[in-house]
């Protein structure tokens, strides 16, 4: 008899009612520190303006973000909105995780942003997400060693050689040479590209231009000896902080690792002397996306509209130190006078947006091997790059 009551009690327990009041929008992000504080301040502003909506910010570690997202969203446990770099967009859009926002977005809204930061959010003709901030590479230089930044790569090499002649313990220039992300400025500056055509997945990484870019970096390392050997990110940071490295190619995040703000400056990357083209780094857009499984898409889009507004962008720039995507912010007098923001904004016009297609994910690791072989280990660029392209093709089968 006891079992019967137990069973009945269990059945009754299953039918507990669920209570809801108002709307709660869940937003996943991977921000920390000042960036997170600025975002949550902007979210509180939105709540104050729309009393029936609450915004819950959930911090998800960056490394685990894509996996958590692609597990949670299809099962309906994911967020309404989320913030991430645009390079996984194609994968997510093709998997049906993202909602296109072209229905809500209109011209005045898109006019807020630099078009370069919106373009990477278009996949197969649809707009997914709105840009919050951009990330790219520029040239950091040590003001105690160099007075004016170089305009061309020949300038850069000459300056570095002169410095090395005066002080042998000082190095000329460095970046993470094995990484395709850091090699991209030279690849594009020599006239090369990752893909042969905008839509097809055919790679152009074995082109003579791509080979020339690898040979150029090897020259800096082996012939000119201005590039430190085995330059890991930690070594680069420590050399630059010790004033033993004149130029570093790095992104806005590098600022957080530097000591003494008045001893370094940032400039756009130089023109490649061999081709006369600017060294164009990859452009990454950090965007706010709408989940395809959100049950409050209209309200979620209102939050997107608010968080990407010029006012919210000013707050994110001022308090969070983000390089925001809104034009209006850079027209403010205070921002225009900020050399850091100005340098990256100038660089923005000379970027190539990082491909958002799913295929791109398989390119990084083989290219890392190829660049390390061609630049460090002296394998002929044609062979090294050929191997990488072959390996990407085999893996993609």
């Amino acid at each position: 008899m006891r079992a019967l009551w137990l069973a009945l009690a269990l059945l009754a327990g299953c039918a507990a009612p669920e209570a809801t009041d108002g709307t709660e929008l869940v937003l996943w992000h991977a921000y920390r520190g000042a960036e997170r504080d600025a975002l949550s301040a902007a979210a509180r502003d939105f709540e104050a303006r729309t009393p029936d909506v609450r915004v819950r910010l959930v911090a998800v570690p960056y490394d685990a973000f894509p996996d958590k997202l692609s597990v949670a969203v299809p099962r309906g446990h994911g967020p309404d909105l989320f913030i991430f770099a645009h390079d996984r967009l194609g994968d997510w859009a093709a998997s049906g995780l993202l909602e296109p926002v072209g229905f809500w977005a209109d011209e005045p809204l898109v006019d807020r942003f630099y078009l370069e930061t919106v373009q990477p959010l278009v996949f197969r003709g649809e707009l997914y997400g709105l840009p919050l901030a951009f990330k790219t590479l520029a040239l950091f230089y040590d003001k105690t060693l160099v007075e004016t930044p170089p305009a061309t790569t020949d300038d850069l090499v000459a300056t570095a050689k002169r410095l090395r002649a005066q002080r042998p313990d000082v190095w000329g220039v460095a970046w993470d040479a094995d990484s395709l992300y850091f090699h991209a400025p030279w690849l594009h500056g020599f006239g090369g590209a990752v893909y042969a055509a905008p839509e097809a997945d055919e790679l152009a990484l074995t082109s003579p231009e791509a080979q020339a870019s690898a040979a150029f970096v090897r020259r800096l390392l082996v012939d000119d000896r201005i590039f430190p050997e085995e330059a890991t990110p930690a070594l680069i940071t420590s050399l630059f902080n010790q004033h033993r490295l004149a130029f570093v190619v790095n992104g806005p995040w590098f600022r957080g690792e530097l000591v003494g703000n008045d001893r370094w400056a940032v400039a756009p990357l130089p023109i490649v002397s061999e081709t006369g083209r600017p060294a164009a780094p990859f452009l990454g857009t950090e965007a706010l996306y709408l989940s395809a499984r959100s049950s409050e898409k209209r309200k979620a889009f209102e939050l997107m509209r608010f968080l990407t507004s010029d006012d919210a962008a000013r707050r994110r720039f001022r308090e969070g130190g983000q390089l925001v995507a809104n034009r209006a912010v850079y027209e403010d007098a205070a921002v225009a006078a900020d050399p850091f923001a100005r340098a990256f904004r100038e660089q923005l016009a000379r970027t190539v947006s990082l491909s958002n297609r799913p295929h791109m994910r398989g390119v990084w690791t083989p290219m890392e091997t190829a660049l390390s072989n061609a630049i460090v280990h002296g394998v002929p660029p044609a062979t090294a790059l050929g191997e990488a392209v072959d390996r990407i093709r085999r893996a993609g089968r």
Binding site: S95, D106, L127, E229, T232, S295, R361, G362, T369, S372
Partner: protein
């Protein structure tokens, strides 16, 4: 329980409970089938609409399935920005509005926008309050929204079936009970219960699924003028539910039988104690293992998982067409891994044993201090050690090259050749690995009775003889398991290889586990990486089976 006469109340209640609970479960199942069919039909209609197989007017006019249908299509000419679309809207009751963006200030436009947003907000198909379903389907920029009316499945006949089967089960139990000895009644009851449940479930769910699906298919076909249709989602959902309902009673009766048998088993209490641990083991170890195993036979891309059979294994074992000596070939990596394991274990055990012999001398001063210092490498987290050593192997600024420079040796680019890079990995891992072996040896050495050495000394045995014939044999029982365990750890020592050499040069120093990691988390090919880990598992399994036999033999020799 009284032995002389079984109780009547309990079995009758049990059968009644079975009929009632079973009935409730089947009702839920019937409701599920009804909802499924309605949702499926709404989706089929929306698909037909969005693919242009049936116009809005015909869907709405055909007396029946579609209560409301609308189509919102995007228009590619967005003016300044090509990716901003204009929308046009079609509905049975409204005129078509083409060629401009919807204006929220206009009442008609707002209604259109609301319908569209309602469709977007719903996850593909949602149930409606009246039992119907709304489907929103998107294709090539067009979105169709269809509200389908509910399809009902008559359930009354199945109540009768259920009652008859319940009565039959009760009668069967009653007849059987009269012929069997008291005390066995649980088993009989279990069998009767299961039979009734099984039969009812089969009849009911088969009937319901067939009836509902057939009716829905017929109605939809009529609406779409004989378009051929299939019901994949329904067939799958119904099939799974049916299988679950059929298997569940079998499982229940199995468990009941097992419990009633173990009532007589002397290990009953033991099972109870082990139970929670077994459940934990199943959830934490067995389930992920089986999932990983299943993953090895799939290939996932862009959210679609595809069963590819043994293709992943074939690709790995054929080395993707690379020659055996190519650093990216599976066999090259396997040889590197085996070499890595063998050299490491030899060094760990050798150094560990040597230091243990030194520290075991009773006359050594400050023994405790040395012992503590030697255990320090083990206590530091391995990835910190790895990063420190990577810094020390730096060509220009690393400590190793600086020290070699004092001896007049040119700086070595540790990570630019295979053997130097491999050596850097081995040195780092040896630093990490020897303290464990040392601790194991030290413990075993201290448990060897001193009398043996004294006796040997009296017999005139030399130092070497004492080591060879007393120390080594008595160390073996402790050392052998440590070596087996250590080699399995080293075989899968991800941190050191990934952080120190990172596979440089050209992925040649990668071991199997770092290769698998690259496939999973750098290339995103989880199925391929799972196949790698299955192969690693098989290699380690055969290794441990082999060593177990060796260890047993060794035990036999010295026992």
């Amino acid at each position: 329980m009284r032995d002389e006469r079984p109780g009547f109340v309990a079995p009758v209640l049990a059968v009644l409970l079975a009929v009632v609970l079973g009935g409730a479960a089947f009702d839920r199942f019937a409701a599920h089938v009804t909802g499924e069919v309605t949702a499926w039909r709404a989706e089929v209609l929306a698909l037909a609409l969005v693919e242009g197989r049936a116009p809005v007017a015909r869907l709405a006019a055909s007396d029946g399935p579609a209560a409301r249908a609308s189509l919102v299509a995007q228009d590619g000419t967005g003016g300044k920005y090509a990716f901003l679309r204009r929308y046009r809207y079609t509905d049975a009751s409204e005129a078509e509005r083409v060629g401009r963006r919807l204006d929220p200030a206009d009442a008609a436009d707002k209604a259109v926008a609301d319908a569209y947003v309602a469709a977007l907000t719903a996850p593909a198909v949602v149930p409606l309050a009246d039992g119907g379903a709304r489907a929103a389907v998107r294709r090539e920029g067009a979105t169709a929204v269809v509200d389908a009316r509910p399809v009902s499945v008559p359930t009354a006949p199945f109540w009768m079936v259920r009652a008859v089967v319940g009565a039959l089960a009760l009668a069967a139990w009653w007849l059987l009970l009269r012929r069997t000895k008291p005390g066995r009644w649980q088993a009989v009851l279990g069998a009767g219960f299961a039979a009734s449940l099984l039969l009812t479930a089969l009849l009911y769910s088969l009937g319901a699924v067939a009836f509902a699906a057939e009716g829905a298919v017929a109605a939809t076909r009529a609406a779409l003028d004989g378009q051929p249709l299939s019901a994949p989602a329904l067939a799958r959902g119904g099939g799974v539910a049916l299988a679950a309902l059929t298997v569940l009673p079998l499982v229940l009766v199995g468990v009941a039988g097992w419990i009633s048998r173990s009532r007589r088993s002397p290990h009953r209490a033991a099972y109870t104690y082990v139970g929670p641990a077994l459940v934990g083991l199943g959830v934490l170890v067995l389930a992920p293992f089986l999932f990983g195993l299943a993953l090895a036979f799939t290939r996932a891309s862009q959210g679609h998982v595809e069963w590819v059979g043994l293709q992943n294994f074939a690709r790995i074992l054929s080395s993707e067409g690379y020659g055996i000596t190519h650093p990216l070939s599976f066999y090259f990596t396997l040889v590197v891994t085996v070499l890595w394991t063998a050299i490491n274990i030899a060094l760990h055990a050798g150094i560990g044993l040597g230091l243990a012999l030194l520290l075991n001398r009773p006359t050594l001063p400050f023994k405790g201090v040395y012992r503590m210092l030697l255990i320090v490498p083990w206590a530091v987290p391995s990835y910190i050690t790895a990063l420190v050593w990577k810094g020390m192997f730096n060509k220009q600024y690393g400590l190793v090259n600086n020290v070699l420079g004092l001896a007049g040796i040119e700086p070595i680019g540790w990570f630019s050749q295979f053997w130097t890079s491999f050596t850097a990995n081995v040195v780092t891992n040896t630093w990490l690995g020897f303290p464990f072996m040392m601790v194991v040896c030290l413990g075993a050495l201290q448990s060897i009775p001193k009398e043996l050495y004294e006796a040997a000394e009296v017999d005139g045995a030399s130092r070497w003889h004492r080591f060879r014939h007393i120390t080594l044999p008595l160390l073996q029982p402790a050392l052998l398991p440590a070596i087996i365990l250590g080699s399995i750890w080293t075989f899968n020592m991800f941190n050191i290889v990934y952080l120190v050499s990172g596979g440089q040069p050209g992925n040649s120093t990668d071991i199997l586990i770092t290769e698998a990691y690259r496939w999973a988390f750098e290339q995103g090919q989880y199925g391929y990486a799972a196949a790698y880990s299955v192969l690693i598992f098989l290699i380690l399994l055969s290794y441990s089976l082999l060593t177990q036999r060796v260890a047993k033999k060794a035990e036999g020799a010295y026992a």
